[in-house]
Amino acid sequence: MTLPVAGQEAATPATLEKISDVVIRFAGDSGDGMQLTGSQFTNTSALLGNDLSTLPDFPAEIRAPTGTLAGVSGFQVRIADHDIHTPGDVPDVLIAMNPAALKANIADLKEGGVVIANTDEFNVRNFKKAGIETDPLEDGSLAGFRVYKADFTTMTRRTLEDTDLDTRSKDRCKNLFALGMVYWLFSRSIDTTVEWLKVKFKRKPEIAAANIKVLKAGWNFCDITQLFQVRYEVEKATLEPGVYRNIHGNSALAIGLVAASRRSGLPIFLGAYPITPASDVLHELASYKEFGVTTFQAEDEIAAVCASIGASYGGALGVTCSSGPGIALKAEAMNLALMVELPLVVCDIQRGGPSTGLPTKTEQSDLLQVMFGRNGDSPVPVLSASTPADCFDVAMEAVRIATTYMVPVVLLSDGYIANGSEPWRIPEVESLPDLRVQFHEDAENFQPYARNEETLGRPWALPGTPGLEHRVGGLEKEEGSGNISYDPDNHELMTHLRSDKVKRVAREIPDLEVHGSPDGGKLLILGWGSTLGAITGAVNDLREQGHDVSRAHMRYLNPFPSNVGEVLSRFETVLMPEMNLGQLSLLLRAEYLKDIKSYTKVQGKPFAKSELVAKALEHLG
C-alpha cells in the first residue's frame, strides 16, 4: 500500500480509500500485550475475509526490564484483498508503544510510512532506558515518516476514571486503545474483539468491561478528533470457496496429528519435553484428550522419544516434538526406532542455533542434523512444512509414511511457521487421506522381520497378540527371523534394506512442481520450508517484470522426488535461498552434481522478498 501523504493538522472528515495490501507492525514492551493486540487485529481481518500472514517476534526473556530494547515485543501482520505469501518485507504502519519500540523498529519502516506513537511514554526516563539522547518525535529524525501522536496512557486512564480498577490494571488496557485506533484507521469493526474479550474475561467481567471501554475509546478518539485524514479499506480476498479459519503453524501441526490419529485409528501418544518454539504442540495436544490423545511431559527429551517408541511398540502413534537442542538428544533413540523398525514421528521446530543459540528466532539449520545426526548409516524420511497451514497436511503425510514403511519420520517446521498464522481453508473430513493400518495377527509362519514387498516395511505385531511373541532391539537383526545376527552379509543386507526402504518412499510421492516456466529456462529459485512465501512473492514480481524466473519448492527432503535431477537440468542457474549455510544445497549438489547457487541468510529472521529479487537479478545478469 502507499498511504497518501496527509497533513496531521487538517480536521476535515476523513476520506475512505481502498487499498489492496497493508503491513502493520505493533511494537511495545513485553508487558504491553502486543501479541494479543496483533492477534486480535488478525482475527478480525480474517473474519472479514482478507488474506493475511503474520510474524510475531518476541524476546527470549520472559520479561526483560520494561522500557529497554531487549524487552521489545513485536507483531507484524499483513492483510490483503488478494493471495499473499509473506507478512511483508517492510511495514507500512508502525504502532510504537514506547521509545524502545520505536527505536528497535523504525529502521524497518517503509519510507513515508506511518508511525503511531504513544506520547505518554516518550519521556527522559524511557529515553535513557532505550539508549536515546533526544526525543525522536521532536528531533526531526522521523522526517521521512508520517507521525501521529496520541497519549494512549492518559486517554486510557481518563476513560476508566470511574471504574474501581487500580492504576496498574487500568494501564494494562492501553493496548486496546491502540487497537481501537487501528481498527478505525482500517475501517474494521471492533465486534470480534468485544466478543472475544467477553469470553476471555468471563470470570472477571469488570476487566472485560474496562477493556471494551478502552477499545471503543480508541476508535472514537479517531472518529472525533479526525487525527487521520484518510481511512483505508482492504477488501475481502478472493480465496477459494470454503470455510476458513486463521491458524498458527503449531496448531495446524497438532490438529494434523489428531486428524491422522482419527484417520488411522491409532491413538496418539506425544512424548515431549518443553522447549521454545515447540512447546505449544505439547500444550495444544494436551488439550485434546477427548480425542484419545495421551501427552507425556517427560523428564527430558530422551525419555520423551523413548516413551513414544514404547507407545508405538504397543500400537499407538508415537510422536515426539522438540527443537534443535532437544532433537540432538533424541538421536540415539531415533536410531533405535530405525533399527526396530517401528513408526515414529519426530517434529523439529527449528530455531536459531547452534547450541542454545537464539531460542526465539527462526532458522532452517537442523536439516543436516536430522538427516545425519545418528551413528551408522541411518537414513530416515524427512519432510518439511512451508507455511503454517501446510503443517496440517505434512503432519498427516508424516504419519502415513511412518506407518506404511515402519520407520521414524522427521517433520521439519521452524519458529517462523510455528508462531506465524494464515487463513486455512478447512478441509472436509472425507477428503482427508485414509491412513488405516493393519496390525499383523496371523501366527502362522510369523517372522517379525519379514517384509512387505512394496514398501519393505516389516509387520507391526503388537504385544498381547497370541502366538506372535517375539523380541526386538537395537542389535543387528537377522532378516526375517529378527534374531540377533553378527553375520557380515546379513548386516550389509539389512543396511541396504533400511536405506532402500526410505528410497522406496520416492516411488509414490508427487513430482517436484515448477511454477513459472515448467519447461526450463534461465533461473530456478528452489526452496524448502518457510522461505516459500518470500520466494513466491519474489518470483511473481520478477515474472511480472518480464524476467525468466521460475520457482519450485521441496516438501520431501529425503528421499527427493524422482524428477528433481531432471528439473535441475532444465535450468541454466538454480538459486537456493536457505536460512542456514547451505544445507539442502549441499545434499542436492552431492546427489545431482549440479552447481546449485546457495544464497544464505542466518539472521534469525526470514528472507525479505526484496532481498530475493535483488539476488535473482544478480544471477539474471
Partner: protein
C-alpha cells in the same frame, strides 16, 4: 483367555528358542530361572507379558523369555516401558536393568519412573560392576575397587539402590538374591501383584569380573548369619537360630542378642505399609558386617498409579465431550465462509 488355559502354562512355555549366552556360572541364570518359574503362576496368558531391558549382560534377558521383548538402549528401558504401559495398561511389563544401566546412564529415568509410580515391575540386577563392557566399576561398586578404569582403586561413594528408590518416593521397594530361589520367587510374586512401580534390587554374582561380591550374605555361613528376612507384620529377627534382633536405640537402629527366652518386645515389628518412607529408609541403611543385610519387601504402599490416572483423565474427557468429532475440531475457533 480362560483360567484353564493359563493354568496350563509351565516354565517351559517361557523359555525362548535362543541360546542363553551368559558366562557359565553367572547369577543371571538363576534369576532367569526364577522368573520363568514365576510367570506361569500369575494367571496371565503368555502374550500379555512384555520384558523391556536396556543394555548390559543382564539386559540380554528378553531374548531368553518366550514373551514379547524389547532390548532397548542403554539406560532407557524405564522410559520405553513407561510409554508402553501408559498406552497398554493391559500388558504386564517387566523391566530388566543392571546397576550401570539403571543407576549410571539411566539414573534419571529410573528416579522419574519411581516418583510417577508407573505400573512396572523392575528388576535391577546388581552385580556392582559393568559386565558387558568387561569390568569397569559401577555406581554400586564399593570405594577402592580396582578395575580396568580404576587401576588405583575407585573413589566414588556408591549408591545404595534402596535408598535412592526411597528418596524418590517409591511405593514398592524390595531386595532379593539371585541364588535364593524361593525367596526371589516370592518377592517376584509380590512385585507382580503390586499396582505401581515395583522395584526389586537383585544381588547378582558376576563370577567373571566381580566374583563373590555378595559373599557376605550369600555364602553358606554368611547366609544364616547375615540375611535379615524382612516380612510384613513380623519382628526383625535374624541370625543363627534367630538369636538376633533389630531395635531402635537412641542413636538409631541397633542389633540386640536374643538368648533363648529373651524378651522380644523391643524388637521392631515390620510394617511395610507406613505412609512415611522414613522407617524403610532407615532399615535400608543397614549393611554388613556391622548389621545384617535386609532382604524382602521393605516398603509396599498404595499410591495412585500413573497410567491409570492418565487414562482416567482421557476417559473422563471423552465422556464429557462425547460429541467431539474431527470435524468439530477442524472447525473450532473463529471461522468464516468464502463462497
Amino acid at each position: 483367555m480362560t483360567a484353564t488355559e493359563t493354568l496350563e502354562l509351565t516354565k517351559k512355555d517361557f523359555q525362548s528358542d535362543q541360546e542363553v549366552r551368559w558366562c557359565p556360572g553367572c547369577g543371571d541364570y538363576a534369576i532367569l530361572s526364577a522368573v520363568q518359574a514365576t510367570l506361569p503362576e500369575l494367571g496371565l496368558p503368555k502374550e500379555k507379558f512384555v520384558v523391556v531391558s536396556g543394555i548390559g549382560c543382564s539386559s540380554r534377558f528378553p531374548y531368553y523369555m518366550n514373551t514379547y521383548g524389547f532390548h532397548s538402549i542403554h539406560g532407557r528401558a524405564p522410559a520405553v516401558a513407561t510409554g508402553l504401559k501408559m498406552t497398554r495398561p493391559d500388558l504386564q511389563v517387566w523391566v530388566v536393568t543392571g546397576d550401570g544401566d539403571a543407576l549410571s546412564i539411566g539414573g534419571n529415568h529410573f528416579i522419574h519412573m519411581l516418583r510417577r509410580n508407573v505400573g512396572l515391575k523392575v528388576m535391577l540386577f546388581n552385580n556392582r560392576i559393568y559386565g558387558l563392557t568387561k569390568g569397569q566399576y559401577s555406581p554400586t561398586s564399593e570405594i577402592g575397587k580396582r578395575t580396568k578404569s580404576t587401576p588405583l582403586g575407585s573413589l566414588d561413594a556408591p549408591f545404595n539402590p534402596l535408598s535412592v528408590a526411597l528418596g524418590t518416593g517409591a511405593t514398592f521397594v524390595a531386595r532379593s538374591v539371585d541364588i535364593f530361589q524361593p525367596h526371589l520367587k516370592s518377592v517376584l510374586k509380590r512385585a507382580a501383584a503390586h499396582e505401581g512401580t515395583a522395584f526389586i534390587e537383585i544381588l547378582q554374582n558376576c563370577n567373571i569380573f566381580n566374583d563373590k561380591a555378595f559373599s557376605g550374605v550369600t555364602d553358606k555361613a554368611a547366609r544364616s548369619e547375615n540375611a535379615l528376612y524382612v516380612e510384613d507384620g513380623k519382628p526383625l529377627i535374624y541370625g543363627k537360630e534367630n538369636r538376633r534382633g533389630i531395635r531402635r536405640g537412641p542413636a538409631g537402629l541397633e542389633v540386640v542378642e536374643l538368648p533363648e527366652g529373651a524378651d522380644e518386645s523391643e524388637i521392631i515389628v515390620w510394617d511395610e505399609a507406613v505412609r512415611s518412607p522414613s522407617a524403610a529408609f532407615e532399615l535400608a541403611q543397614l549393611q554388613a558386617p556391622e548389621f545384617p543385610v535386609p532382604l524382602g519387601v521393605l516398603r509396599a504402599v498404595d499410591r495412585p498409579v500413573y497410567e491409570q490416572q492418565v487414562i482416567g483423565q482421557i476417559r473422563e474427557r471423552e465422556e464429557a465431550k462425547k460429541d467431539a468429532s474431527l470435524e468439530s475440531l477442524l472447525n473450532s475457533g473463529d471461522t468464516w465462509e468464502v463462497s
